[in-house]
């Protein structure tokens, strides 16, 4: 088990290294001419040169990459191009909103996906099973920003149950904070739970075919006990693996959802920084989000190997 964890951790660190390469060079090497876009509308050649000089964009690319990497190791992500604010600090302030949103959305997604998936998987081919398929495919077909608008139209404008935009700090007004996050949470949770429910259903169907389930039935166990005691437990193991994928979907979904609901999280900061070409912030946020996903996937893999010993030796 220890060798497995060690091997998996090294492999994640290696992937993280490639992630830094991709992040840095996508922004700085692609032929988009950063300096001229930062310089504003129809800049003169002199202005472009001035921007290059001032931001250090005229220095060799590899030097700038290693400076960035050196900073990352000291948890220093550089300074904003526009405001000179410290990027790590800026991200740190936005982290809480995104983390709260992501965590609650994950809980909502799991709370819907597991019961629905189990019921559909226990009775494949029934009305409920058919309904799940429609729901799951619908979930990946409706863009989350459209779902967000539908929520705003019905629950904020028509019914007035929840605020349409913005949020308040959880320390100032905990109830108001949760209330303002309900619509964003369900936007992300609902668009992401379909694929998970399908995974649970698939795992259930797979386990139901096993010999030990037939044995359990033939010894006269009630169907309910067969499902709860034998099928459900074993079906949960493969479901753990989709948690990693789920987090990826949720983090991706939070970028647009935060922008629509004007929530001061990392996603909104990312989009705002792309508009004004504040590349150190963009690089920093992309790196933090990608590293979070890598770390979560590492945790998922380790817990999977813990639950299913066959994985460790493959």
């Amino acid at each position: 088990m220890q060798t497995f964890i060690l091997r998996r951790t090294f492999s994640s660190i290696f992937v993280l290294f490639i992630v830094t390469l991709i992040t840095f060079f996508s922004i700085n090497l692609l032929p988009g001419d950063l300096a001229s876009r930062i310089a504003g509308e129809e800049p003169s050649q002199e202005q472009i040169e001035m921007v290059r000089e001032a931001l250090g964009l005229n220095r060799p690319l590899h030097v700038r990459y290693f400076e960035w990497i050196g900073g990352i190791i000291r948890l220093d992500l550089g300074d904003s191009l526009r405001t000179q604010a410290d990027v790590s600090e800026l991200i740190g302030r936005k982290l809480a909103v995104t983390a709260e949103l992501g965590l609650l959305a994950l809980i909502v997604a799991i709370a819907i996906a597991i019961p629905v998936g189990v019921l559909a998987g226990a009775r494949p081919g029934t009305f409920l099973d058919y309904g799940l398929t429609i729901f799951a495919v619908g979930g990946v077909s409706i863009p989350n920003f459209f779902l967000a608008m539908v929520f705003i139209i019905f629950f904020a404008v028509k019914l007035g149950w929840f605020p349409a935009l913005g949020t308040v700090s959880i320390t100032e007004d905990p109830l108001g904070n949760i209330r303002s996050l309900v619509l964003p949470i369900f936007t992300i949770g609902l668009t992401s739970c379909g694929s998970m429910a399908r995974q649970v259903r698939g795992a259930m169907v797979e386990v139901m075919r096993q010999d030990y389930v037939r044995t359990a039935r033939s010894k006269g166990l009630q169907e309910r006990d067969v499902i709860l005691r034998h099928v459900f437990r074993n079906a949960l193991i493969p479901v753990v693996t989709v948690l990693g994928l789920q987090m990826t979907i949720i983090i991706g979904g939070s970028i647009i959802t935060e922008t629509i609901f004007k929530l001061p999280g990392m996603g909104k900061l990312l989009i705002d920084s792309i508009y004004i070409m504040d590349t150190p912030i963009v690089q920093g946020i992309v790196l933090v989000l990608a590293a979070t996903i890598l770390a979560l996937n590492l945790l998922v893999d380790i817990s999977y190997a813990y639950l299913d010993p066959r994985i460790r030796y493959s």
């Binding site: 492999s11 290696f14 992937v15 993280l16 490639i18 992630v19 991709i22 992040t23 996508s26 922004i27 700085n28 090497l29 692609l30 032929p31 988009g32 001419d33 950063l34 876009r37 494949p124 081919g125 495919v137 619908g138 990946v140 077909s141 409706i142 863009p143 920003f145 459209f146 608008m149 539908v150 705003i152 139209i153 404008v157 349409a164 698939g202 169907v205 990826t248 979907i249 983090i251 991706g252 970028i255 647009i256 922008t259 629509i260 990312l270 989009i271 792309i274 508009y275 070409m277 590349t279 963009v282 992309v286 989000l289 990608a290 996903i293 890598l294 996937n297």
Partner: protein, 301 residues
């Protein structure tokens, strides 16, 4: 089905149109028995027809301002109403279909053209080269697809062409993974070793044996990713990073609608439903194709 079309001399003797045992005909008959497949195909036919010939289907110029006709609601001249600048919603919807379909098609093409060779060669070579290529693909998977796309947009700048590239590049990793899987699945089989024994080179084996084998999963995944691409294009245009106004795009229609959610919610509902229905159709067809083309998954439902 994919293997059949690739190997035997028998196939060439069968006229695919008149003979009722041709693989295409058999496939079509099985497809036509799926009401979901037929339903989705009809929706897609309409959308693709709009994309090909928007000026015939549309009733107005999609970017023509008409101050007198702003937000008129449903009426005979503008049967889906107009936006705040008096532009005909129906015509903008029709022209927006073109943006969606073109971006979807082009980005999936980028993914297939880039990903298939990588995946097939990685699977065929194995060893260290396989390891390096696949870790590189893993790194792409570490990004949520929207994040990776945003990264490329930051580098290249906004605009519809750049958006297409930015959507297509992460798809390369998806197709590489799939075609590697299908390559590994047949690598050890007898027909590969017999091809090797009669002196077939890497290129011949890849194109004659490994590529046809990847056909089914690639078609299925391509259909599903077409829908994903349409959603990402709409998202980026919605954020102001894709199609530039006043050009019509479903995402931009939603940006406009966002300002009028109180007065005119229907402005948001129309393009939103268009996106959802189109993507739904791609997803449902992808599912039907998976059932029909991939025998391993048959009977799983």
């Amino acid at each position: 089905m994919s293997q059949k079309s690739g190997d035997s001399a028998q196939d060439t003797l069968i006229d695919p149109v008149s003979n009722r045992t041709s693989p295409f005909f058999i496939f079509w008959r099985r497809f036509a028995r799926r009401p979901i497949g037929v339903f989705s195909l009809s929706i897609l036919s309409i959308v693709i027809f709009c994309a090909l010939l928007p000026s015939i289907v549309a009733t107005h110029d999609p970017i023509l301002y008409d101050g007198k006709a702003a937000l008129v609601g449903f009426q005979t001249d503008h049967w889906l109403g107009t936006d705040n600048l008096g532009r005909d919603t129906y015509s903008r919807l029709v022209h927006g279909a073109r943006t969606a379909i073109v971006v979807g098609f082009a980005s999936v093409a980028i993914g297939v053209v880039g990903g298939l060779p990588i995946g097939i060669l990685a699977g065929w070579w194995g060893g260290r080269r396989d390891e390096v290529l696949m870790r590189l693909m893993d790194a792409i998977f570490a990004f949520p697809s929207l994040l990776f796309t945003l990264l490329i947009i930051t580098g290249l700048g906004p605009g519809i062409q750049n958006v297409t590239i930015a959507i297509g590049v992460p798809f390369i990793a998806v197709f590489a993974r799939i075609s590697r899987g299908s390559t590994l699945a047949v690598k050890q089989q007898d027909f590969i070793s017999s091809a090797l024994s009669i002196g077939a080179g890497d290129a011949r084996i890849a194109s004659r044996h490994l590529l046809p084998n990847a056909f089914a999963p690639v078609v299925v995944q391509g259909t599903l990713l077409f829908g994903v691409a349409i959603i990402i294009e709409a998202s980026l245009s919605f954020l102001g990073l894709g199609t530039k106004p006043p050009d019509p795009s479903w995402g931009i229609m939603l940006t406009t609608a966002q300002r009028f959610l109180r007065q005119e919610p229907v402005l948001a509902i129309i393009p939103g439903v268009a996106i959802s229905l189109t993507v739904l159709a791609f997803n449902l067809i992808g599912d039907v194709l998976r059932d029909l083309l991939d025998p391993r998954l048959r009977g799983a439902d």
